[in-house]
Amino acid sequence: MENATILETIDLRKDFGSQKIINGISLSIGRGSRHAILGPNGAGKTTFFNLLSGFHKATSGEIIFKGNDITGLSPYRINRLGIARSFQITNVFPKLSVFENVRAVLMSKHKIRFNFLRNIRKWGNLEQETDAILEQIGLREKKEAQAGFLSYGEQRALEVGITIASDPEVILLDEPTAGMSIDETRQAIKLIDKVTQGKTLLIIEHDMEVVFTLADVITVIYYGTVVATGSPEEIRANQKVREAYLGDQ
Amino acid sequence: MDYISILPIQILHGLVYGMLLFLLASGLTLIFGMMGVLNFAHGALYMIGAYFSFSVLLWTGQFWLSLIIAPVLVALVGLLIERVFLRKVHVYGHVAELLVTFGIAFILEDVVMILWGSEPLKIEIPAILAGSLSMFGDTYPTYRLFILVVSLLVFVFLSLILTKTRAGIIVRAAVDNKEMVGALGFNVPLIFLLLFGVGAWLAGLAGVIGGPYLMTHPGMGAVILVDLFVVVVLGGLGSIRGALLAAILIGEIQSFGVLFLPQFALFFQYLLLAAVLILKPEGLLGEKT
């Protein structure tokens, strides 16, 4: 199988006023790879995701997805092209049911966005597809529950569900296991592994167990620049990384 | 018409109205900056300032007394509004707070009509202010200069308090970041309350001095509220300096607009408001949206 580059950034930079948060990141993400982004707090990891997903406009540099320049596109366009992201702080549709949360994403995926004449039930496959995804994330039983009332772990699962429902080629997960207990984390790892089969995963994480279980490539970011990129073993052994992370295991 | 010679007078007109607007807008913008609520009742507070003044005048015959008492009464009303109504709906979010002030504006207008009737009132100003002074080769009503002087004094006073006193600095900090100020141990609800009271006091003062100038009638609050919104949005929600600039700008636009294109004076205000909201919702100088 060809390990072509599916997503790459070329000297990507982002300034907020006088604050230079991203200082020239050039990264290549291989198709089908599981690529972890590590770095201390404030290193710019989430900002990097924000740039990739279109939330922020890069100050300079390029983002190339499948050979096309997507720099500066709106989030919705980037999503439609095949990149989806999750959020560190759960970002669901609180008053809607779990079912509706996921179905909304599927409607968009199937381009059912503006119809104001047909009852939504007419699209029978939507319900089945939604159930399938709910099954995957383990929330099938809770489909009628209001998203805002779910437990933290369930909300994080829903968060992942919403992200993968658009059937993206590249999945960006931003600290999916933040705040989870050891058991919940183990569950989450299994879930992430399952739902990202055959897709490209870019994951920001602090939990080393998650990183070393899932990732085949790791990039360490420090102060908005790439310190090192390599396989988990290479990164473990890397001196600069050690310095940046101070006492990492 | 000799435009050059009337220019200073027109500018003065605009300045007078602008400063009056500023008295109102300064309170409004501070309240917004701190609470995130655009106080729809601000025009109504202005109105009851004028009406209280009328009654104090009726009662005591002393304009100077009403100048002192009426704003204080309005401040008390303001404190009441914040304590009883706004604080209760604070948990429901900005929309609820907005709606409450909106409802209060409605109610105050009707209360005023019940207590004072719906006909415009005539407020007697003291003889010393009733005449005119000669300036720029013409005469200018003393009363309007009085408005200007009072507004400027208040502005200076307000600036001093906000920049030089500890209380003022705390208020400015709270307007900027109330969570932080709360975390530092200050009683934020109390600051809200006092700020609202001061805003109301300013509105009441504006009502006292503005009533005889602009006409005292139950619709006066609604009429000036429009201009107020333009000023506050234009100047940036939360910025006193912005409010000053915007108020003077609006005052001048009114002054010259009425002169050259009386048909379209109102249009300009609304168009300006719309334009600012469309192009730059944060206004000219403000940082908050």
Partner: protein, 325 residues
């Protein structure tokens, strides 16, 4: 759940039947009040598509109601059209206005949205007031209600209140039925998603701007239809149909009725119209009472009358369940 559904349908059908037979049951002056309630119910339901469902608070929706009102009267006057085309024109022109304003307003939300809608309302109000030759200014335009022309059938005189009542009833019921249907369509569902989390909606592929604009136009259409019905009913239109008081009124009425339940705004309209009608004979201070009710609802029952009624009903039913053991 189905048991519950049957009761809902039965209730709805009997309610509609009541409305159908109403002219035989009540005197004409009461029928006038009901017509007003029907018209404003449509206005409130349409307004709630934006307020309750989209979560967008507009302080200037009289712009659309008023545009509909002026359009129909002007269309009757200048083109001699019959009733139905006049009403339709009201809706269509409101949509056109909605495009002009909506393109700008829908970019915003929250406070800026509210203020810009206010500014736009004031602009169009100023136009209506100043353009006396066309709109009659503050004095307005009076115009007799034209006939209802049904192709292949003939004209029905709309002067008798009963006739007009049935016309309004059919139009309003159809429109409100569509608005209900709308909430079940994809656009209707996405509308709510955007309210819940606009940012995320964008991230899952929705162009929230065009979506909101489309919703805005749907709302504008029905507000315009309501306005057209209103001016046709009064046989008169003036700036009072397009001013800030009207905007404030619909806002208060909708909120008092309740934003969260579909029929909530209808409850608000009926409640306040009824109160207004009965209390107006006793006191001139209806505004005060309405304001007080409004504030009380904001503070103590922010889910409105409908929310309150539903909570009471649920509590009663819970008690039944507990009693049954």
């Amino acid at each position: 759940m189905t048991h519950y559904r049957i009761w809902n349908w039965l209730f709805l059908i009997s309610f509609l039947a009541l409305l159908a037979f109403l002219p035989g049951l009540i005197p004409e002056f009461s029928l006038n009040v009901v017509i007003t309630m029907l018209i404003y119910s449509l206005f409130a339901i349409a307004f709630n598509i934006l307020f309750g469902q989209a979560g967008l608070l507009s302080f200037g929706h009289a712009a659309y109601f008023g545009t509909g009102a002026y359009t129909s009267i002007l269309v009757y006057k200048h083109f001699g059209l019959s009733l139905f085309p006049g009403i339709l024109a009201g809706g269509v022109f409101s949509v056109l206005l909605g495009v002009i304003f909506g393109v700008f307003v829908v970019r915003l939300s929250g406070m800026p949205f509210a203020l810009l809608s206010l500014a736009f309302n004031m602009l169009i109000y100023a136009v209506a007031e100043k353009w006396r030759t066309f709109t009659g200014g503050e004095d307005g335009i009076a115009m007799q209600r034209p006939d209802l022309f049904i192709p292949g059938f003939g004209s029905i005189d709309m002067f008798p209140t009963v006739n007009f009542y049935y016309f309004v009833l059919i139009i309003v019921v159809l429109c409100i039925a569509y608005c209900w249907w709308f909430t079940k369509t994809p656009l209707g569902r996405i509308n709510v998603c955007i309210r819940e989390n606009e940012e995320r909606a964008g991230f899952v592929g929705y162009n929230t701007y065009t979506t909101k604009l489309l919703v805005y136009l749907v709302c504008a259409f029905f507000c315009g239809v309501a306005g057209a019905l209103a001016s046709s009913f009064d046989e008169f239109v003036s700036t009072s149909m397009i001013n800030m008081v009207k905007s404030g009124d619909i806002l208060i009425t909708t909120f008092v009725g309740g934003l969260g339940i579909f029929w909530g705004p209808i409850a608000g309209v009926c409640f306040l119209t009824y109160l207004n009608d009965t209390l107006s004979s006793f006191t001139k201070h209806w505004v005060l009472i309405q304001g007080a009710i409004f504030i009380a609802v904001v503070m103590y029952a922010p889910d409105g009358i409908s929310g309150l009624l539903l909570r009471i009903k649920n509590r009663l039913f819970d008690r039944f369940k507990i009693e049954k053991g």
